[in-house]
């Protein structure tokens, strides 16, 4: 089991540590709800160093990315980030990822920790463009600083006085350490993700400087559990829950990143066919007024018949109501349709709504 460079800090803070994707990760510090609210109301810091960073370098770096990812990376300028996904030939999802463009010949792909090995292997198997693919996941640490006060916090420790736009990044220094900082995140809030190389002392220095800068905003460490409730309130997909190799990007509501007009990419033919024939099920967002809430794999029914399954469920700390994502048969997927969560033998009504659950 690997440890991130912040492990000692997490232990000192009394975090509850769990094994996740081959890492010892903090799942919770003070409590999910208080951590969640710290991010929505002020600012919180996540250690997400377990995420993977793959560098693609070479003359045909763009061609390679266009081939393996569904979004159109030719539209991506230097210093910009793009959300994308990789699919199998049948349209099933290998992973969702962020693509950072440094130059025409250098990109960084940020992938899910649990998929690093699989993705790296897939990329190499499909490297017909002679690009250099390097897994630098072990060298890079990653902190996410998220919340309405994240900008005020970060501006105090960044070398340059920058105003990053959404999904833009720069290389600069923070607390004297070389970083790649992007205005991205998984919470729906104003926020940043900060990538850097360096040993434990550099990591701890950066962490401590961020917390000093955020002290006046009651900055809080946030664990993976609140990261999950925060992303679910926005309806962001989580690989392994809402998307995986058995789901395709179209039924997952990721048609907006899937550029079927792009010349060619792995999975395109299958996705074109699925589009033409129409999807049979759809990932929907459901909100209930009851107290009991569904979890992954709970059944969804209507008029006593099963129509689908929950892929993510929790109680929204902000709405204080059950929220869930799940796949239901297409004919039951309309906004406003009332379905049932089957929770331990009870039917709990829930309405299909338009995302996000919490408006930002």
């Amino acid at each position: 089991m690997k440890k991130t460079k912040f492990y000692n800090i997490h232990e000192k803070l009394g975090a509850k540590i769990v094994d996740f994707a081959n890492f010892k990760m903090p799942i919770q510090y003070s409590g999910i709800i208080s951590e969640h609210k710290a991010v929505r109301n002020s600012v919180g810091v996540f250690d997400v160093s377990h995420m993977g960073e793959i560098f693609v370098r070479g003359e045909k770096a763009l061609d390679f990315i266009q081939h393996i990812a569904v979004n159109d990376a030719s539209k991506l300028g230097e210093g910009r980030v793009q959300y994308s996904a990789m699919c199998y030939e049948d349209g099933g999802i290998i992973d969702d990822l962020l693509i950072y463009k440094f130059s025409d010949t250098e990109y960084m792909l940020v992938i899910n920790a649990s998929n690093i090995k699989k993705d790296f292997k897939w990329m190499n198997e499909n490297n017909k463009f002679d690009v250099n693919i390097v897994d630098e996941s072990d060298e890079y640490s990653l902190l996410a600083v998220q919340g309405p006060n994240s900008q005020k916090t970060m501006l105090k420790i960044l070398e340059e006085d920058i105003e990053l736009e959404y999904y833009h990044f720069i290389k600069t220094k923070a607390a004297g350490i070389d970083v790649i900082i992007s205005r991205t995140g998984y919470t729906g809030e104003l926020g940043y993700e900060i990538y850097f190389k360096g040993d434990q002392s550099a990591a701890e220095k950066l962490w401590n400087e961020i917390f000093k800068a955020g002290e006046e905003f009651d900055i809080a460490p946030v664990g993976l559990a609140a990261r999950d409730t925060l992303r679910l309130e926005m309806g962001f997909c989580l690989y392994g829950n809402d998307i995986d190799s058995t789901t395709n990007v179209l039924e997952a509501g990721l048609g907006w990143i899937t550029k079927l007009k792009k010349e060619s990419f792995i999975g395109k033919n299958a996705l074109l066919k699925i589009k033409e024939e129409g999807i049979t099920r759809k990932l929907v967002a459901m909100l209930s007024k009851e107290k009991s809430f569904p979890r992954k794999d709970y059944e969804i029914s209507q008029n006593g018949k099963p129509i689908g399954k929950i892929t993510s469920g929790t109680v929204s700390p902000i709405l204080e109501k059950p929220i869930a994502l799940g796949y239901v048969q297409k004919e039951h997927s309309a906004i406003g349709n009332v379905v049932n969560f089957n929770i331990r033998g009870k039917e709990i009504p829930a309405e299909i709504i338009k995302l996000p659950f919490v408006n930002k």
Binding site: K16, Q28, G31, I32, I33, A225, K291, F293, T314
Partner: protein, 126 residues
């Protein structure tokens, strides 16, 4: 870890506080810590009695759901109504305001067979 000396404990991390012919039942500080933020305590309001070892309800935390198991058998005298609006009392005051159910004692031996504080401490490996 708070494990009050005067209480009895079950293997399933409940505490039992004897008051004359009945006892209050709740979950331990250790259990609430493991569960995390409690958001819903689901017990049938018409529940009349509980049977040792059987589930009499569920406790929902954000991350997980857990059954409540009866530490002994008896007639239900009261269910803590405060938990309907303030389930977090289980986190903030597990041995006090966060009590869950009050149950009549019919067989004192059942209570005496439960763990004392030292044994419970051992049970959770502290």
């Amino acid at each position: 870890m708070n494990i009050p000396e005067k209480l009895r404990y079950s293997d399933d991390h409940e505490w039992i506080k004897v008051e004359d012919n009945s006892a209050l039942i709740g979950i331990t500080d250790y259990a609430q810590g493991e569960l995390g933020d409690v958001v819903f305590v689901d017990i049938d309001p018409d529940l009349e009695s509980i049977t040792k070892g059987d589930s009499f309800g569920t406790i929902e935390a954000v991350k997980t759901v857990s059954d409540l198991f009866a530490p002994y058998s008896g007639k239900v005298l009261e269910i803590n109504e405060k938990l309907a609006d303030e389930p977090q009392l289980i986190n903030t005051d597990p041995y006090g305001e966060g009590w869950i159910i009050k149950v009549e004692i019919t067989d004192l031996a059942e209570i005496e067979n439960l763990l004392d504080a030292a044994k419970y401490k051992e049970h959770i490996g502290q």
